[in-house]
Symmetry: C2
Subunit: 311 residues, 2 copies
């Protein structure tokens, strides 16, 4: 049976995974703000390593309030920044039976949603993908694509299994995890160093970073692992080794933070670094390496603001 | 009696202090590489808050070997980077009676010179100045200017007092210190954070840095003070407070590292940060904040190299 799914956030993540669910036969609608007219006229184009396709959402609406159906799943795919009020974005379409799904970056980004909608099942999801919206309603998917989803704060409910199963045969794997918070910490082992470093180095590729400053990367990654352990979400003992090795094998990768920076968009500094540092403080873990990156990213943001006001 | 003084390094520092010594009646010559022709033709122009003047060196030579006199003082004013072999630059003009003076940035930059010329008096000097060579053989001096000099590794010899006295009535103060190594650590309390942060933030001014990330600055400064203490060069207990307060009172200041970066010149990353981190390691002081800045500056340098090779 086709489910009503509303995707909120028409960036690369929302467009790509929404289009896959539509191809799988679900009734997928989208909240589209800036690209509304072009998406209405031409749909959303996906140029993927899996093929090229056009995605015509069931409904394209400017805000969730305009969605004319009852959503079984509301999937939040926005950036997590101070500029986006995620609760307000979805409040009008969350009924008692709605399952809320997050496909978003960062640490500890679920609590705000869980508190606002305490009766709803909340699925937390992580996307391991390189995809970019290169022009309005046009997404290029260049590498990877795996999803990991689980109930927040833990467990795997039937609705989560059903959501994951929708991606069967899509060419993209969606795995379930009964400990999604640990999965987030695991992803942060990579994101916490490489996202800010790509910006602070003015765009140095991941290959050169790992080849020239491995010791430094290990210090940052170890702090993330230490926080996770202190919070009772221990990662594998060799998690740092694995991340160093896999980065060496990756093609040079452009991080999401670097892409946001180069497009003049707000970066997910708080969701990734700020929340990791705050979690460290709460767990009484000393984090000089993460705190340094966080402070330097805030200074870089201050410089961006300064340039805007003097431009 | 006028002394023969040879200035090696015709950047802002060498031109400015050389011109002051000439105005004081010394016989000042200069080694000038890139601006040789223009300096020969028109001398060196100084546009200072103290006035405007033209400085005609006694001799302008392309290398020290061409200097036709016996120098009483050889004053090294180059940047301290891997590209500059300071020993080779002065070897041909150092006789048994030559006093070697360094007016250069950084920590632990004297040992290399002291080892190469063990029989010579070595004066280590620090310049607290904002001066920039804005075009060939043309220096703008916009703020400050104080010098501090002392024998390396310690003490104040008669030659040092005589050198300092040459600046009397020049409008610039030259103080002597019997513990110049401590003075270098003291200056590094400010240089170690503000120089790299000005580059890593892409040019944010010192005012905004101190107003938005004071806690972070204090962490970095405290590490410098801790290394100095471990090496038996203790700084004042309130050295961090004083540096924070004085930065608040300073007009927004463009650091030398930022100026070098913006002009595509090699930065003194190793002399300031690398040597501080290595001193910390030697003294068994943990320096995560300094090490982070050092690693990020090395990555920024790697990105500059990458851009050069792909340009």
């Amino acid at each position: 049976m086709a489910e009503n799914i509303l995707i909120v956030g028409a960036g690369a993540i929302g467009c790509f995974y929404g289009s896959l669910l539509a191809r799988a036969g679900q009734r997928v609608s989208m909240v589209v703000r800036s690209d509304y007219e072009i998406a209405q006229a031409h749909g959303i184009t996906v140029e993927s390593i899996l093929g090229h396709w056009n995605f015509k959402p069931e409904h394209i609406v400017k805000t969730a309030r305009d969605y004319p159906e009852q959503a079984a799943y509301v999937v939040l795919c926005t950036k997590v920044t101070g500029e986006v009020n995620r609760v307000e974005l979805i409040r009008d379409v969350v009924s008692s039976s709605t399952v809320i799904v997050l496909i978003q970056n960062g640490i500890d980004i679920e609590a705000e949603i869980a508190q606002a909608f305490p009766a709803n099942l909340l699925i937390s999801g992580l996307a391991f993908i390189c995809a970019t919206k290169t022009r309005p309603a046009y997404v290029e998917h260049s590498a990877y694509g795996r999803l990991a989803v689980g109930d927040y704060p833990q467990g795997i409910s039937d609705a989560t299994r059903a959501f994951a199963a929708m991606f069967d045969d899509s060419g993209i794997e969606c795995i379930t995890t009964d400990d999604v918070v640990t999965a987030r910490w695991q992803k942060t082992v990579w994101n916490a160093p490489f996202n800010p470093i790509s910006v602070l180095s003015n765009g140095l590729d991941t290959q050169t970073v790992v080849n020239t400053q491995e010791t430094y990367l290990r210090k940052i990654m170890s702090e993330v692992a230490e926080i996770a352990r202190a919070l009772k979400h221990p990662l594998r003992d060799d998690v740092v080794d694995l991340n160093i090795e896999s980065t060496r094998k990756m093609p040079p990768y452009k991080t999401s933070m670097l892409i946001d920076y180069q497009h003049g968009r707000t970066m997910e500094t708080e969701a990734i670094l700020g929340n990791a540092v705050r979690a460290g403080q709460a767990a009484a873990v000393n984090t000089p390496y993460l705190s340094s990156l966080y402070a330097l990213m805030k200074l870089r943001e201050a410089q961006i603001e300064h340039l805007k006001t003097t431009a």
